[in-house]
């Protein structure tokens, strides 16, 4: 068993002048302070990647910069699923005894470190270089295709409610990128991006960083325990997905729950990847946290609100806390830990005994699920 003993999360948004290494360092400093550890007590380091600081060896670039001499280090790349993949790996490594205390860190000045055109163009390259990219798709276009199929099979009118909920949650979260209240009508009337997705269906591009300390469970050092962790990878390119309404999330989440001996009905908090409203709707429904086609309706009815039956992304998610790349989904875990500790301030829900976290990368192609148990 492993525990998360420290979290660090910077504000997300436009943090002009901060580099990838600056943002990683800020988050790492906060995570070490939170864990009550010195640099020398860290013997493992796992990092993500940064589109504004591409490097063959980002982990050791950071280790040198920050002042670490780990016995184990490398970087991981799995698109949006990277954050939870890092956590799963750290969990496996401490359980295997390869390291004792691992710092997991990511950060990127994705907004201010490049032009918006450069960011959009870089991200669009996850498409197939021969059969997709020459047609001029974008990340929103890949998800627009997914959303069109969802609309065809289930109807899509209510998924705007998910964006409304994320914005309301962000308004109570210090450091959130977008906090101005929005309505479902504003989402539906916002600028078209990739039909049926509109601007407010899409997460912003942000600067930010996040970090965790993950160590082998020790009764003297409290923190949420990782009870289960699993992945599923079904395809890479949207053209190669066998279905645009069923992905690997059910498989991944199901195995993570089974590993932890936890039933979905025991989960009291959900932290689910929400790059677009459609991403969140599909993942909630596929995992089984909402019936097919009903995620938006449940959001409207308050089911996913902080006072509802299944609080969801109470910090505002990618849609409103923001999305800085690898650190984006890590904010979901930082918030889950805060909720478990009772440190979520005005957003505090009943401290959840068990939480389910799920991230996806690519176009719903790479899935990572985590089951977290409160271990105060």
């Amino acid at each position: 068993m492993s525990r998360i003993t420290g979290i660090g999360l910077t504000p997300f948004g436009r943090l002009a002048g901060a580099s990838t290494l600056d943002l990683m360092s800020r988050a790492a400093t906060d995570a070490l302070t939170d864990a009550g550890l010195e640099r020398r007590e860290i013997d493992g380091l796992i990092t993500g990647y940064s589109t504004t600081h591409p490097h063959l060896m980002l982990s050791t670039v950071f280790a040198e910069h920050f002042g670490l001499r780990p016995a184990y280090a490398h970087a991981v790349q799995l698109g949006g699923a990277t954050g939870f993949a890092l956590v799963m790996l750290a969990h496996l490594l401490v359980e295997a005894g390869a390291a004792r205390r691992i710092l997991v860190v990511a950060g990127e000045n994705r907004l201010s470190g490049q032009s918006r055109d450069a960011a959009i163009q870089t991200l669009a390259q996850v498409g197939h270089p021969t059969y997709e990219v020459p047609l001029g798709p974008t990340i929103p276009a890949y998800y627009g295709l997914v959303a069109s199929r969802y609309a065809h099979e289930y109807g899509i009118d209510e998924i705007a409610e998910l964006a409304v909920l994320m914005r309301a949650n962000a308004a109570r979260t210090p450091g959130a990128h977008l906090t101005e209240p929005i309505t479902a009508a504003m989402v539906r009337d916002s600028k078209p991006i990739a039909a049926p997705l509109r601007l407010l269906d899409c997460c912003p591009v942000s600067d930010g960083g996040a970090a965790f300390v993950i160590e082998r469970a020790d009764p003297a050092r409290p923190g949420p325990r990782i009870r289960g962790a699993a992945q599923a990878h079904t395809h890479q390119h949207v053209s190669a997905a066998s279905s645009l309404t069923a992905f690997g999330a059910r498989d991944s989440a199901g195995r993570a729950l089974a590993q932890g001996g936890v039933a979905l009905a025991d989960i009291r908090y959900a932290a689910i990847y929400d790059s677009f409203t459609i991403t969140l709707a599909i993942l909630l429904e596929e995992i089984g946290l909402a019936p097919r086609g009903a995620a938006g309706r449940l959001a409207r009815e308050g089911h996913f609100s902080p006072e509802g039956a299944m609080p969801l992304n109470t910090h505002g998610g990618l849609l409103s806390y923001g999305h800085c790349g690898v650190g984006g989904a890590m904010a979901h875990l930082a918030e889950t830990v805060r909720q478990m500790r009772g440190e979520a301030g005005p957003r505090q829900v009943a401290e959840p005994p068990l939480a389910l976290l799920h991230g996806d990368g690519g176009v719903l192609s790479s899935h990572v699920s985590l089951v977290l148990e409160n271990g105060r």
Binding site: I120, Q121, A124, Y131, G136, P137, A141, R149, P196, S239
Partner: protein, 122 residues
Amino acid sequence: MSAEIPDWTTGREGLALARCRACGHVQYLRRPFCPECGSEDLGVEQASGRGTVYAVTVVARAPSPELSAHAPYGLALVDAEEGFRFMAHCPPEGVAIGDPVLTRFRSFGAGLVPFVTPEGTP
């Protein structure tokens, strides 16, 4: 062998597929082997271009300044009658999921791309 079959990815109007002679699997995203059984015995064929729209979007915000002059453009995933799925351009209006379509080709950016239109449109 494949050089004889026109293929838009090499700048010649045509949609090509590769069929595995060992297991019959049809692939569009081409590799020199069958991803199902590993056989390297593939036959390249010309696809008819007839298919059914599986998903469709309209790109309002192009990925690069060079392509923004073309926006908005329609983008579809089409299920070809030969049993593979492909991405194609389509008109930004008047194309719906389930529509039977035919494939033509048009210039876009630096090359040629498939362009599907509903059957019966001129």
